[in-house]
Symmetry: C2
Subunit: 309 residues, 2 copies
């Protein structure tokens, strides 16, 4: 049994994409949207990110049988408080946060008695805000659902079907494991990217103009990730501290081994690592989790501007 | 005055792309090619990477007024030795190596009296070998030329024009500065990417299958770079040790600051860094050094397979 009305709380990249995806893939479901920023609400209305856009959170969730909180994880408690008195009986409350342990605890404490089923669609781009969303963002991407032990299996199945209808593949896991997996597949990569882009900007011997010009040697890849939403990412690191620090230690240990190899001219250790890492790329492409074309199918400025599709 | 005959020594991604680019953009220039691997020579002949493919280095350089060594930097001395007796008088000898100080020294010592003008086109993909090259690889990318102090300005101008004809923009700098710039824009990004992909592969708490499935959260970007040619990259780190270790120290210092911020819950320090790094991305895109579309214009497996252009 599908949902009839979905309330989307927060109309940035994730919320906007959910609104557009529901309208495309599940046209029978009504959508209502809310954002605390009036400018975002105006733009969301212009783009039609949801069927109705509301200036109050309570109004937006009225009659919704699914409410999805699409705000940075640090704002989730406040967003939950804003709807706690207005939820329809039996409504499912979910979210899209990139860390799950603290989110699960916050939702459980603020929305006691509600049907809470946290989730995390592992999809996104470097853009954010009401102009960033698009209907196909979740196509062939994984959505991780982390239901509490006492969650009603029928409601979990409903949420799983919802995400599948938007094009996603769904996996269920406990919040602790989620946070560890995402620390390595998402949080540490972002931390490293932000850091090296900062390091490069601050150098005295190499100008910013040189860093930009010669970025095609590899650096530009990191700048994409390091252009992601600063509030969202600050909150991720504040809310997944333990797993991130644990994975960071592993990375630093491995990096120290490579530093030693470079210092002593140990080509064999380098060659061993550099050979091993190729196969994981092949698996990612084979499983449809990345573009099979060289260099992600990138085009230069002119080509991309000429493209019309 | 343009060159009349270009010899391409090594027919992988770079050599193959030069061969195809010359045939497309400078059809008046004859191309000859050599590779030490017979299987690569066969494939290069099938793809027509050069007008003639030769089984001996000396034969390939016969009559060439430009010879470009397109081998890993660790093999450059041997490649230079193989041609030293066969070079036409006045021939310009260049290369495409990613580090320049050791290459300049090696070429000067092996090819005494020759006109040596080392160069580094900052372009590439994660693919390597004779199937990887394509004619537009150098379009709108920078090529750094590092002429020795005594180089004939007329010959330097000839080489600059050659690269410009292949679609590249050219900048001249000294080898030491080149090695420092590339350490930060290319070598450290590769080292970090190789290392984090290795770290993720070795975890016990998170399976390889999970790392692959949930790689769209950021990790997959690093796997592309970490799929680059292992021999080429081993040689880069063996040949640009000092600059790489210097830049690695800066990165590690900055990463320690972020670790401290995460450990103490210092959101302000995180937010400051995460906000600063957005602008460098904008500059890279504005200067045509990256694809302006979100997520590099990536498509999923199915879309890319359907695309015919």
């Amino acid at each position: 049994m599908s949902f009839r009305r979905v309330a989307i709380m927060g109309l940035g990249l994730m919320g906007g994409s959910i609104g557009l995806a529901v309208q495309r893939h599940l046209p029978g479901i009504a959508t209502s949207g809310f954002d605390s920023d009036p400018a975002v609400r105006r733009r969301a209305a212009e783009r039609g990110l949801a069927g109705t856009i509301h200036a109050s959170a309570a109004e937006a969730v009225e009659g919704a049988d699914l409410v999805i909180l699409c705000v940075p994880v640090g704002a989730i408690e406040q967003a939950a408080s804003a709807i706690s008195g207005a939820l329809a009986p039996g409504a499912v409350v979910s979210d899209v946060g990139s860390s799950k342990q603290t989110v699960c605890r916050a939702l459980a404490s603020v929305l006691q008695g509600a049907c809470i089923i946290p989730a995390h669609p592992v999809a996104g781009t470097e853009n954010s805000g009401p102009d960033a969303g698009f209907a196909t963002l979740f196509h062939r991407r994984w959505c991780i659902v982390t239901p509490p032990a006492q969650a009603d299996p029928a409601q979990v199945a409903r949420l799983v079907s919802f995400w599948q209808a938007l094009g996603a593949m769904v996996e269920t896991m406990d919040p602790e494991h989620h946070d560890r997996v995402l620390a390595v597949t998402s949080h540490i990569p972002h931390l490293i990217a932000y850091t090296i882009v900062g390091t490069a900007s601050d150098l005295e011997e190499v100008t910013r103009s040189e860093v930009i010009k010669f970025s095609a040697g590899g650096f530009r890849d990191f700048t994409r990730i390091a252009a992601s939403d600063p509030v969202m990412w600050r909150d991720v690191f504040l809310h997944n501290r333990e797993a991130v620090l644990e994975m960071l230690e592993r990375f630093l240990t491995d990096l120290a081994v490579m530093r030693e190899a470079i210092g002593t001219g140990d080509g064999e250790t380098m060659f061993d690592l550099f050979s091993r890492t190729r196969s994981i790329r092949r698996s990612i492409v084979a499983l449809g989790q990345d573009d099979p074309r060289p260099d992600f199918g990138r085009e230069d400025h002119e080509q991309a501007a000429l493209r019309t599709d």
